[in-house]
Amino acid sequence: MIADIKDQQLLEAFQQGLTLSPRPYAELGLRIGLGENEVIERLARLKQSGLIKRLGVIVKHRKLGYCANAMVVWNIPDEQVHGFGRRISSFEFVTLCYRRPRHGTSWPYNLYCMIHGKNRGTVLEQLRVLEQVCQLSGFNREILFSRRCFKQRGAIYQNAAPLMQPALANG
């Protein structure tokens, strides 16, 4: 977990991205008054504790030809949603799998997954396999393909007491 204010500052600075220069962690440290070793030790601990889920290159799928992106939503009985969620998330082409609350009659869905593909056909074929293997065909479901992307910035989290306003990297 976050140990102190320095961890918070470090995460906020790190979310702006590493510099593309030989000693990027030293440069990150300079911005918040920490030495290179301490930056590396703190980040290793944050990764170990799960607060950093992944550390690396953050790609824009659309720029690489992965133009079809479907958010698929199901209405699954509450007592079964965990089991289906875990099964769906085990497929390699599924990039996100979440449970969210239903919202009245206009939005009765509670299980979400995201499938990226090079085109609609591949996404729909992957979904067909997923539904067959997981035995999902009996549930109410909708597919929401994305059209225009108005903004993509990868999640940048701010703290309760913002220390700096994150730059709009791709705003």
Partner: protein, 152 residues
């Protein structure tokens, strides 16, 4: 034009980026190239907007609070409404999707009150009600995504 080095950097370093004083040198050693080759290739990927940055992915709701939100907007107004939503610094992803609810965006705020302020602000500025669908469970383990780059 993407080189084999570009593709390796894209597919092999979405996770497990080295936490060491000279991370680009460590990658270079693994791939059998020089540190400056790695830095140059990553700079090219950044300049061509293929990568947004090198940094951490933080699970939702571990720092601050977030929600997935949607608005149903008539097609004729969608572009203008999307611009208003995108202008909020608390909004990161903002997409049009094929549905009656056709504008989908993620809001990240410092706490629950701040999140509600952002939602209310968007409702007031756009004149449309916002459907907020906060995360209840995350079933996913690893966000790394292996891409087929043979035709890039």
């Amino acid at each position: 034009m993407m080189t084999p080095l570009h593709k390796q950097l894209l597919n092999d370093y979405q996770g497990n980026f080295p936490l060491s004083p000279r991370p680009y040198q460590d990658i270079a050693t693994e791939l059998g190239v020089s540190e400056s080759d790695v830095i140059k290739a990553l700079t090219e990927l950044n300049e061509t907007d293929v990568i947004t940055r090198i940094g951490p992915v933080i699970p939702p709701n571990r720092i601050g609070v977030s929600t997935l939100a949607a608005i149903a907007v008539p097609e004729a107004h969608l572009h203008d409404i999307a611009q208003i939503v995108s202008a909020c610094p608390e909004v990161n992803h903002n997409y049009e999707r094929e549905h009656y609810f056709n504008l989908w965006f993620v809001i990240i705020a410092s706490d629950a009150d701040h999140l509600q302020q952002v939602i209310t602000g968007i409702e007031q500025q756009t004149g449309y009600s916002v459907m907020s669908l906060p995360l209840m469970d995350d079933y996913f383990i690893d966000l790394s995504f292996r891409m087929d780059l043979h035709d890039c």
